[in-house]
Subunit: 422 residues, 2 copies
Amino acid sequence: MAATFAYGSSAYLVRCCSMRENIDMNNEQQLNSSIKVNGSFRNPVKVDSLSLTAEAASTLSQAGSVAENGQQRQNIPTKKQLVDPYRQGAIVEGGVVYRQNVVIRSYEVGPDKTATLESILNLFQETALNHVWMSGLLSDGFGATHGMMRNNLIWVVSRMQVQVDYYPIWGEVVEIDTWVGASGKNGMRRDWLIRSKATGLIFARATRHVKENFPYILRVNFLLIYSYLFTDLDFYLPNSTWVMMNRKTRCLSKIPEEVKDEIFPWFIEKQAIKEDAHEKIVKLEKEAKYIVSDLKPKRSDLDMNHHVNNVKYVRWMLEAIPDQVLESHQLSGITLEYRRECGSSDIVQSLCELEEDEGLHDIVKKDYDTSLLNGFTSEIVKGNGVLACLEERPMRYTHLLQAKGDKQYQEIVRGRTTWRRK
Amino acid sequence: MAATFAYGSSAYLVRCCSMRENIDMNNEQQLNSSIKVNGSFRNPVKVDSLSLTAEAASTLSQAGSVAENGQQRQNIPTKKQLVDPYRQGAIVEGGVVYRQNVVIRSYEVGPDKTATLESILNLFQETALNHVWMSGLLSDGFGATHGMMRNNLIWVVSRMQVQVDYYPIWGEVVEIDTWVGASGKNGMRRDWLIRSKATGLIFARATRHVKENFPYILRVNFLLIYSYLFTDLDFYLPNSTWVMMNRKTRCLSKIPEEVKDEIFPWFIEKQAIKEDAHEKIVKLEKEAKYIVSDLKPKRSDLDMNHHVNNVKYVRWMLEAIPDQVLESHQLSGITLEYRRECGSSDIVQSLCELEEDEGLHDIVKKDYDTSLLNGFTSEIVKGNGVLACLEERPMRYTHLLQAKGDKQYQEIVRGRTTWRRK
């Protein structure tokens, strides 16, 4: 389940041959950094719980108990847990769907007081991980199961589709459901639904779909691949949206029995969204109409693998959308296809171009031309028919993020965004 | 209380002469954008609650009820509320301190699995606003009280100090307390404490302190000033960390009786942190050792006032810190003094420089010189005395963010960061 459940991180997985050691190392490093200055405050403070503080700090800094403390602090369940009061999460619907109440926070909304797409993506990541958390399958790190760890397997994600019908607003309470399911023979998918807690109205839907065929690639050496919720790929993987692979051999792998036993009991047949998987996202050429160049990752954009965080990709994609579209339209959907990771030293170009609906355009043009010939405006145009339809219909943009290479640009992400009029 | 409670936003406050109208406008705009495409899904979906969805959507899109719906969706309390189960917040300690349980989310941590400073700042903002939310004083927007609205008053914040002793880790449950108090005659402060839910160990402390004297400026015309949690200032305001001002006349204002009546009952005498208010942050010169230039706000960095979000300032400041310091040290404290807002078209430079402790440096150098003269290494150096002390003592950096002007750079933020060895 793990990676459809959430995402795994190579930072931890790369060393999973001796994971126990690494858990300790990670925790030790982490705790050392916060413990070495042992609880002495530079400035005296007037706080009633100071004595408790000193006591707790002394417990925390006891030698040898660092890793244990880290685990205690995280308190990852070792068996299935049905309710988590702090996360406000519960396993529902036959014991497989994870549901969590979330209040939209003040810093998660944009200028119009509605949640940003980035916040929504973050909440998807959070709930997916909490699903694995509650399942008792989370071994360590960011989403791999115990079985995956034992098999040295990591997940690689390449495709994500999100549809937002209504944006939740600041202070609103929403309910997020997430679950996993089978897709074909070896595939998996994870879905999400966000709905209003008060009315049940569905605000947003998303899926990451798994395809079972990897026709082109059976071995991908020399490439650092890591998995992430909507991760970057270091390689080109046609027609595949999910991959499980061995982190050592870099061989793609079917899901081993051990992992199947862990995750299959969680599969259900339920789809939040019908994907546009068959609509290929074309690769934009360098002559794309809208181009923003010289985008550089900042240090704070890097995730725990020192790679660019996926939310940053979405930001970069949206940077290329013309201002007037952002003012008149609202993002209603996004599809992402990751092709290659973006490193900290990459210089990125964000391209986008409006998808012209040639068919509809032709009809209007023809109709309009006829009207001009006849000296009158045809009914279809005059009566706010096609024109209004053109005005109101959603717009679609095709996107490409690419990194400057020595000789040519290299694809990072292809994307598609859909926009409806405000 | 409001702004020490939280922050007010000029986007809403600038129009507070007819606030009711504006609330409606804002909500209308907001809801329209999500309602116009009336619940019809581009793709059919298999979701059991679809019927509920359609029904709720139809309720939502009824003409005339848009603003009301917005208010319903936010559900801001009109009187003091002691507990909020969704926020996991409660008013405690004599009915004035706000306490909230928070689980550190997966996307709030950095590569080392600990919460980033930015996440901590965001949580401060969130809990401050939830404090006002629970108080029943929140009128609309982001933190102003009803009395402030009636008096056309907005808060302006200029100084913030944060001290992090331990960083919470991914999945850890923390408890955040926040409260407000008096400072001098007309001043106010808001404090925060983050502690481990499990042990009570205090992880972080923060304050925004108010000084009551505004010696230099009594009137600030022509300047768009807005308030924010740790806001930007459009003007230079020496020796002042908090200001209340009339949004129309731009005159600074003492807290009017009406607002005092609202907020004074919430004041308590308790300090989370002893501020270094007397330690002036010097203005760095353009010869600073570390400079990162040509920083440009992205569209996604802009807040609801179309100004650069304060968290972005912190990111920019940290961009200038040398890599080796980030590797060997951990940020233990930060002080921010905002001077001027940063607009979307500004080109920003981030400067920083290590604060040399001349005194200590001289001692070591003298001691070392003496040793060389005498042909042996003195005890103080050899015995890991001063050298170890130098090695282990916290480092402090002075920061400056400035915007490129026509003739000269203009200060945006002065800052100080403190770093301890990992």
